[in-house]
Amino acid sequence: MKSKTKFSALLLFLGPSLGVITLFFFIPVIAAFSLSFSDFDIYSLGSWEYLRFVGLKNYIDLINDPLFWTALKNTFYFVLLGGPLSVGVSLGTAMLLNSKYIRWKGMFRLIYFLPVVTTLVAVSIVWRYIYHPRFGLLNYVLSFVGIGPFDWLGDPNLAMPAIIIMAVWKNFGYNMIIFIAGLQNIPEELYEAASIEGASGWQRFRNITIPMLAPTTLFISVITMIGYFQLFAEPYIMTQGGPLNSTLSIVYYMYQEGFRWWNIGYSTALAFMLFIIILIGTLIQFKVQKIDE
């Protein structure tokens, strides 16, 4: 057993990190929780004496706030459609690049990965023009197969799907890398044995690939879901939450309430709702995974 490290050394090595994390993370979490039970607003910002404890009022107001439900519905739309779509495309491209027919794997992987590292604000701006109803590249390409033209970002029914398409394009490369590693860990003998017994390609995928990748898929689904619940920059840049609030997300609504109107108590209550939703979502995914096994 090692002897205990001297306190002075601990203070030197752990002090800065634990200090910063405590001061700028743990205390703010507690502060946010307290603020969510207060009526902290623009007046309290000037002087603390206007700050009052209001109990559950912010949470009750939220439940009665139609905009909150709209934001919630939009965010779930984005997560429940965009999440599985992203994971699916990631798995598909990972299997594609894992195929024995592909040469220059490194080059393809690099190209697929490029959108991941680029600045979200910049690519959102680029896509805003790609989605332009008259001059946009997408409608032009679609016109060759006789579809459209669509007013992608101007139609309340299309704006969220448009944001989902962009998000899948931007993010699939990240999970693809993790899936490729997962695929390479599946022993080749399993596939060979299955082939000898006459299993079709689909059967091998269903009975070998899917179960062997289950832990990877769980991890990927959880991080994708957590990330997607925090949707903000895409609607901020591309649609400003519109049209008709069809792309207003929870974080966007929280930002507006907190940093535009300075309804700080209300906004922190929103942030906690987001936290609780993410927590429940994570627990459900772990549960589903357990049942599958």
């Binding site: 090692k2 002897s3 490290t5 601990l10 030197l12 090595f13 752990l14 990190s17 994390i21 001061l23 700028f24 993370f25 205390i27 703010p28 979490v29 502060a31 946010a32 603020l35 594609l96 690049l97 027919y101 690099l110 190209i111 697929y112 490029l114 959108p115 590292v117 680029t118 600045t119 979200l120 604000v121 910049a122 690519v123 701006i125 680029v126 896509w127 023009y129 332009h132 001059f135 946009g136 590249l137 032009y140 890398i177 993790i178 590693a181 990877t216 769980l218 991890f219 991080i223 957590i226 925090q230 903000f232 901020y236 840049i237 974080v251 929280m254 907190g258 940093f259 936290f275 993410i278």
Partner: protein
């Protein structure tokens, strides 16, 4: 299906996806060199009639892009270096130092990772406001100085360093800080590079936090400046594309130069489950 047909299908699909991945960037670059209005025509053009630098010149002269570029560089490089030192000291301590409550502290840090960052934004903003740090580099540097994910990555890596090496250095009379600086840091170099790229890119690309704490236009980072420019210059497609190119180029360069370390980082981050 014959082998040959399968091969053609696979390569064709891979190529189509590659084209779709690259197309927005290709169009962005070419459109940024078009004359004003040239990107707003039907049918859309991919290549400019002639390459002009007008929009880049406008950005750097009239629209103060140099200032935003400097802000982004100072903040991203600053956060990267400060957090690398603080996280590596902490990660090393969690891996190799003995103290009571180590496991509990580390586990509580890890479980805190489920709390989304948005929860703390308002209180941190208020704190920084009362400290007078809003609209200064400190508003991004200070909260970015330590990260739980960074500590976790370094700790996992430092665990593989043999205790005997540290003991030997201690026998030679090395102080804790000397051991950290001369033994641990050099051995941790690969993970430091990995974490460094993640931090740099994360800070460079970040939008919500700089948008909140940098309200004075002279303090904008590139993404915030770009978002703001979008409000006034929506019709100037070519100008906006030039701004996007300048914002994206630094991260692409860093990524291309150090992609092996970046890919490794994704794998390290994903094995923790």
């Amino acid at each position: 299906m014959s082998e040959r047909l399968k091969k053609i299908l696979v390569i064709l699909t891979a190529t189509i996806i590659a084209v779709m991945s690259l197309m927005p960037f290709v169009w962005m670059v070419f459109a940024s060199f078009m004359k004003s209005g040239e990107a707003n025509v039907y049918p859309p053009k991919l290549f400019p009639d002639e390459f002009v630098l007008t929009h880049y010149i406008t950005l750097f002269t009239r629209l103060n892009l140099t200032g935003y570029l400097i802000n982004s560089i100072v903040i991203s490089v600053g956060v990267t270096f400060i957090s690398l030192i603080i996280n590596s000291m902490s990660g090393y301590a969690f891996a190799k130092m003995a103290f009571s409550g180590k496991k509990q502290i580390f586990n509580s840090l890890l479980s805190a990772m489920v709390i989304p960052g948005q929860v703390t934004m308002l209180p941190v903003f208020l704190m920084l406001k009362y400290m007078g740090f809003i609209n200064t580099y400190w508003a991004i540097l200070i909260p970015g100085m330590a990260s739980i994910f960074g500590i976790f990555l370094i700790k996992q890596y430092a665990l593989s360093i043999p205790d005997s090496l540290i003991e030997a250095a201690r026998m030679d009379g090395g102080t804790e800080i000397q051991i950290y600086w001369k033994v641990i840091l050099p051995l941790c170099k690969p993970i430091l590079v990995t974490l460094g790229i993640f931090t740099f890119m994360g800070t460079w690309n970040d939008f919500l936090w700089p948008l909140i704490v940098m309200t004075d236009s002279s303090m904008y980072t590139l993404p915030v400046a770009l978002a703001n420019l979008m409000g006034e210059h929506t019709q100037d497609t070519e100008l906006m594309m030039a701004g996007s190119v300048i914002t994206i180029i630094p991260v692409i360069i860093v990524f291309l130069a150090l992609q092996k370390y970046y890919i490794k980082g994704i794998m390290l981050g994903s094995v923790k489950g």
